[in-house]
Amino acid sequence: MKVGKPEKLIVNGKRLDGRAFDELRPIKIKAGVLKRADGSCYLEWGKNKIIAACYGPREVHPRHLARPDRAILRCVYKMAPFSVKERKKPGPDRRSVELSKVITEALENVVFLNLFPRSAIDVYIEVLQAEGGTRCASLTAASVALADAGVPMKDLVAACAAGKVDGEIVLDLFELEDNYGEADLPVGIVPRTGEITLLQMDGNLTREEFEKALDLAIKGALQVYELQKAALKEKYGGENGGEQ
């Protein structure tokens, strides 16, 4: 057994933070929280606190990265040194580089990059407080920041993870479950079409368990999608035009 692993992750049919198997942590999303950025999003997901900002489409620097036929999308995932238990040294590590890549690719699917040749769309994601599941939370926030920036997209991308903990398939793993559970399956979807644009897995699942976890994650992501839309509606208004 790993050091620090609780004896049980599920007690009397409940998870250690009191949630049911198919229950999300509380999520709060706010669009447009930064003045300088073209679009931004603040997101609390359980104890995760994340800010995402979108700049662009704008001129590409360095210029040789520009593509004649489309814009380039660059998402950068970063963790603040004080966002985790033991201080994280500033600067990119292998994990952040990989996360940045999969988040970028998940969003490239929905952004109409062809409309902005020779431009760059940059999305910067800063994790200010981490509690497991920052990948899905970051993708969710990044997608709201892009929408807030007015970047044309076919839909938002909504994300949520499912996994296996003490033999049970559960939704939205928090830190302890993430560290000591049997599997973690983050999923990002395009809700309107049902396409899956982010998918990773870490652990062990049977065919049957995988199907169950995937369906659960998709169900969770659809709930997240509603919260994303509600945040944007709060800023831009529904029937009556909102604050602008």
Partner: protein, 263 residues
Amino acid sequence: MESNSIVASIKKDYILTVLETGKRVDGREFDEYREIEIIRGYAQRAEGSALVRIGNTQVLAGVKLSLATPFPDTPDEGILSTTAELVPLASPSFDIGPPDERAIELSRVVDRALRESNALDLEKLCIVPNEKVWLVNVDIYILDYDGNLFDASCLAAISALLDARFPKLEDDKIIYEEKTNEALPIKNKPVEVTFAKIGKYTVVDPNLEEEEVMDARITFGITQENELCALQKGLRGSFTREEILDLFDKAIEKAKELRRYLE
């Protein structure tokens, strides 16, 4: 000239015409700060933290504690380390990558105020002389850049230090999940006050528009005894001896205002 600086040079003509009328572009008096707000305990995985807003500028500072071997020349003192990151989400002019000269200057000027005012009693951070001391990392994170990072960062750093509580120490291991009620040994609460010189005018707490056109900048670090603990003049422009002495007096008055936010 880069395009932003060309636009700034045109804006400067406008900003100067407004300054001539005795006002600033955002309607403030020359010696007036923007609205200030400090939220302590913002980042809960840090041992201490504070989000500071000065107008639209937002700075988050987090304090992390860990154990370290003391420096050989100060075997019975803890270690204070201050870094600042101009994270790219805060401004189109901040890039990803290692800290540039602006970030390094910023962290050093804040560090100087904390260190030279003896904000932290480093001797009280010694656990076993020569062997084990507390390492206090203050990480300053710029989230939204609308000018005057020095004052905002210093306020964030000292507020985060005031907010910090030691984690539990068990068999020489830190239990981060359990914070004690014990605060850090704070001896002084320095603040920084920055002025921008635009043409012949000098204004406190420059916003971004003013910073983009300023000729010179000066930052005073002021202790709670109203003494000077850090000083940094920046940019190509200059100040006269008389201007500096006059600004020092003004800085002391402004420091009193800022310190009220630390109570």
